[in-house]
């Protein structure tokens, strides 16, 4: 057990014992990997782990827990997502105790029937520059695993049409995303049915572009969608390209400060239409 893990467990236990929070959300080990866990009792804090398999963005769960005080383990990107969610009034900052853990990148998941056998740092982590959550109540410095900073930016253009053909429409990208919280999703809605469920490739294209346009300027490139995807669609790559465009036009990088207002939420006369 690494020292950061020990510190994490001790902190979670204290938080629950002193009733600062009612619940701690973190990661625990399962038989085949690491999964999110919800700790309600101090003695259960021993289940918490911290390692490069801690992939899923936990900010996603905070939207549904508006009324309880929650302690949550956050990587850099999770914290950025939380910043945006607070600005969009989805999460109350006063109810969240942020345990910011220094992140050195997470591994690509080794999924069922994969050709790859060895662990690799995820592509999106190689490009990440925010290793610690921008908002935090407690900081845990991490050790134990090394960050592979060799950023081999593979910029060859992708054939998105053929990539989207693989899509199963399992909606894991939507469900794992912290920003997809519409009660009636335009993609899943019936009236009007913008995108039909049983569709061909062109509608899959519409589906992914609709989603991309909805989260551009909000997406923090945490890679939750990409790592959840059962057919390995490199979604973060698409959103990053759109985010770059957004940055050039609106001079805004999502999730870095609570003060800077997100351009989609404010009106300025000189905005390009």
């Amino acid at each position: 057990m690494s020292s950061s893990e020990k510190e994490l467990r001790r902190l979670a236990r204290r938080l629950l014992e002193t009733e600062v929070v009612q619940l701690v959300i973190g990661y625990e080990e399962s038989e085949v990997g690491v999964r999110p866990c919800f700790i309600h009792k101090p003695q259960e804090a021993e289940r918490l782990v911290w390692n490069p398999e801690c992939r899923l963005n936990l900010a996603r769960y905070l939207r549904d827990l508006k009324d309880s005080r929650v302690g949550v383990v956050m990587k850099g990107c999770d914290g950025r997502a939380l910043v945006e969610l607070i600005k969009e009034n989805q999460v109350d900052r006063r109810n969240v105790f942020i345990i910011a853990v220094e992140c050195n990148g997470v591994y690509k998941p080794l999924k069922y029937g994969s050709l790859r056998q060895e662990r690799q740092i995820s592509e999106y982590c190689k490009r990440c520059e925010v290793r610690l959550s921008p908002i935090r109540d407690y900081v845990i410095r991490s050790d134990g695993f090394a960050f592979n900073n060799a950023s081999d930016n593979d910029e060859k253009p992708l054939n998105w049409l053929s990539i989207f053909r693989k899509c199963l429409r399992c909606m894991a990208c939507i469900r794992s995303c912290p920003f997809c919280y519409c009660t009636e999703c335009s993609i899943e809605g019936f009236k009007p049915a913008l995108v039909h469920k049983l569709v061909d490739t062109m509608e899959l294209f519409t589906f992914h572009l609709t989603r991309a346009l909805h989260i551009v300027g909000r997406c923090v490139e945490c890679g939750a969608c990409e790592s959840s995807c059962p057919v390995e669609i490199p979604l973060t790559r698409l959103y990053r390209e759109l985010n770059q465009w957004f940055k050039e036009n609106y001079n805004y990088i999502p999730g870095l400060s609570l003060e800077q207002a997100p351009p989609p939420l404010v009106f300025k006369e000189r905005d390009r239409t």
Binding site: S30, E31, V32, G33, V34, R35, P36, C37, F38, R55, L56, R60, Y61, K111, Y112, G113, S114, L115, R116, K166, L168, R169, C170, M171, A172, I174, R175, S176, E188, H196, K197, L198, V199, D200, A224, S227, S228, P230, V231, E232
Partner: protein, 337 residues
């Protein structure tokens, strides 16, 4: 039970012959994982694979399938079905067993699924035993592997550079007779090795998880159990578990207006989705996430066995491995098995 053997080179010839006569579906490398695909070149076939990311269910129950077209003047026209004389080659025993599970559900009278039957009826299933099962697998629980499952016509097991061929059905016997020259009687030494291999593989699986599957019927009474509430906190309600499951067969239909006619499609649906049981009146008998997760497990492990005398899970481990939040059906098995 007839045991034959075939050498590696002759198996290649066998595949090439099958390819020239029939539509051949076999595992290939694609998109960074293994996948069942209609072969365009018999040399692409991969036989030392782990398992395919997506289950072969897609070939028989496609994600999007045209059922019929309706013309206001002409009436209903039905589409003709492709690949009726297909061979599913190199499928793992668990996935082959899944087909026999689907058979007992979808081909049961009086509600027989004709679209499924058209694709399934003529298909020859040739399976390839698992010598090194993956960490997620638990096929021993439902006796669907690792060496032999149910639903195969021929079972191939790699033993020391040759393949032991077990003929499982009369149809399998016919194929062997068609290609009689390629198969030889298995020698005694090879058979000894084969027996050792079976024993080791079964022991290895039994060490991991061993339960009494008959007790799973009791899951029926466990609605509202804390276990499901805890897993529901985690679940993000994507459909990965059902879409990658080789057995899940729920579908929905949708009509489209296409020019001068309507087309009705059907495709996969999933019981973990919040809209699955929501009715037009607003009533939803499974309104919470915990109810839906419970239903998925209970249906597979208790209700299908009660209604169809077979289990709705074959232990392939896809849902365990692919679930983004690590919900694990093996925990249900351990707890109630």
């Amino acid at each position: 039970m007839t045991l034959l053997s075939i050498t590696d080179e002759k198996l290649r010839i066998f595949v090439r012959e099958l390819f020239s006569k029939r539509v051949l579906f076999a595992p290939v490398k694609r998109n960074g994982y293994f996948e069942f695909s209609r072969l365009s070149n018999p040399e692409d076939i991969i036989l030392n694979y782990t398992n395919t990311r997506l289950s072969p269910k897609r070939l028989f129950l496609p994600q999007r399938q045209l059922l019929f077209k309706y013309y206001p003047k002409k009436g209903v026209t039905q589409e003709s079905e492709e690949h009726s004389n297909a061979v599913l080659f190199g499928v793992r025993p668990c996935d082959a067993s899944a087909l026999s599970v689907l058979d007992s559900i979808l081909l049961k009278l009086p509600y027989k699924d004709n679209f499924y039957e058209n694709r399934r009826r003529e298909t020859i299933v040739i399976s390839l035993s698992c010598i090194k099962p993956m960490a997620e697998c638990f096929c021993n629980v439902f006796e669907t592997g690792p060496i032999r499952g149910t639903g195969e016509d021929l079972t191939l097991t790699p033993v020391n550079k040759v393949f032991i061929v077990e003929v499982r059905t009369p149809r399998g016997m016919m194929i062997v007779e068609d290609f009689g020259k390629l198969f030889t009687e298995a020698g005694r030494e090879i058979l000894e090795e084969y027996k050792i291999l079976i024993r080791e593989a079964v022991n290895e699986m039994d060490r991991r998880l061993r339960i009494d599957k008959k007790k799973l019927i009791g899951l029926e009474k466990e609605i509202g159990e804390e276990f499901f509430q805890l897993n529901a906190q985690r679940c993000i309600e994507c459909s990965i578990c059902s879409f990658t499951c080789p057995v899940c067969y729920c579908f929905e239909t949708e009509d489209f207006l296409e020019g001068d006619h309507y087309s009705r499609f059907r495709g996969w649906d999933t019981c973990v989705h919040p809209l699955f049981t929501k009715m037009a009146s607003g009533l939803d008998p499974r309104s919470t996430k915990a109810d839906r997760i419970y239903h998925r497990f209970c249906h597979k492990l208790s209700r299908i066995p009660l209604a169809f005398n077979t289990y709705g899970c074959v232990g392939c481990g896809r849902c365990v491995s692919l679930c983004p939040t690590g919900i694990d059906i093996k925990e249900v098995l351990e707890k109630w098995g």
